[in-house]
Amino acid sequence: MIRILVLRAPGTNCDEETARALREAGACVDVIHTNKLVKREVDLFQYHVLVLPGGFSYGDRVRAGAIWAKKLRAHIGDMLLRYAEEGRPILGICNGFQVLVELGLLPGWESSLEPQAALAPNTSARFEARWVYLRYEGSERCIFTRDIPRGAVLRMPVAHSEGRFLLAHDEDLSRLISNGQLVFRYALPDGRPAEGAYPFNPNGSLFDIAGICNPKGTVLGLMPHPERAVYSWQLPESASSNLEGASVYADGWPIFASMVRYIDENIA
């Protein structure tokens, strides 16, 4: 049985739909509060995958994801680093991505928990809640996207104030690309990169970056919400069509399905 830990914190609000998507993919999911993990009431290593869901942990105080990241670092930093270094998958969605960046687990270039990137406030200076087009860049090692054909255009919603991906140095972008760590870019409806055009690139992200993985391909973080695009009835046009009850999957589904299949084939 594939066991997945969806970690909650004060202010997370996407834990249940994320757990539902993972259960739909066949995993056994526990939704557990950070405090239990910090107090060692739960053993992280009994789970095949760690998922940090979206939300507004600790009220987005200081910076989105900062408090949750530093709390994890202070109490179980070494454990998290070991978990990632052993190649155990970690998925961070939206606020979860912000936490992985604050922890330095993404881009994951150093064996430390110092940030090497940032998710800065959107250039629109507001909360962006809208459907976006994502272009899958074809990251070969990424275990979360094996079911997605290279160049595919996916639709998922974003909902965040701090999603402008930035790197510390100019040369870091080419490193990200040559390592195959670029996973999703914001795109135009035809799949060409948005090249910063608003609202296709909703936040002003460098190189239209929406999601990246670590060099191993086992840690993925993305700002869009795949768990809000698992079923076709979650799509915006379903309100005006007769999709209710249809069990057709939407574009967020393969991320969960690919990862669960990877665990099934390689680990569990």
Binding site: A118, L166, A168
Partner: protein
């Protein structure tokens, strides 16, 4: 140990678009003020116990890097004085 007061400012690095600052500038321009640029930062006030001012400054610098600022995108400044 003596107490010190630290006043810390966190700013988005120069060169990065400060969208909130831009919005403030435009709103002030609408009101007729000749504002040419605006940036928005965050101020923290901390009271810290330390053996002396130098030690307090060292700790403040460290905690800025570890929590209050993400050095990838933020710059920080601080002043420490006896509380």
């Amino acid at each position: 140990m003596p107490l010190f007061k630290a006043r810390i400012e966190i700013w988005l690095k120069e060169g990065l678009v400060d969208a909130e600052g831009q919005t403030v500038k435009e709103a002030l321009n609408d009101l007729g003020y000749p504002i040419m640029a605006a940036r928005v930062g965050k101020v923290y006030q901390l009271i810290i116990e330390a053996v002396d001012k130098k030690a307090a400054e060292k700790t403040i610098d460290e905690l800025c890097r570890r929590l209050l600022a993400n050095p990838v995108k933020d710059r920080y400044y601080f002043e420490v004085s006896r509380y």
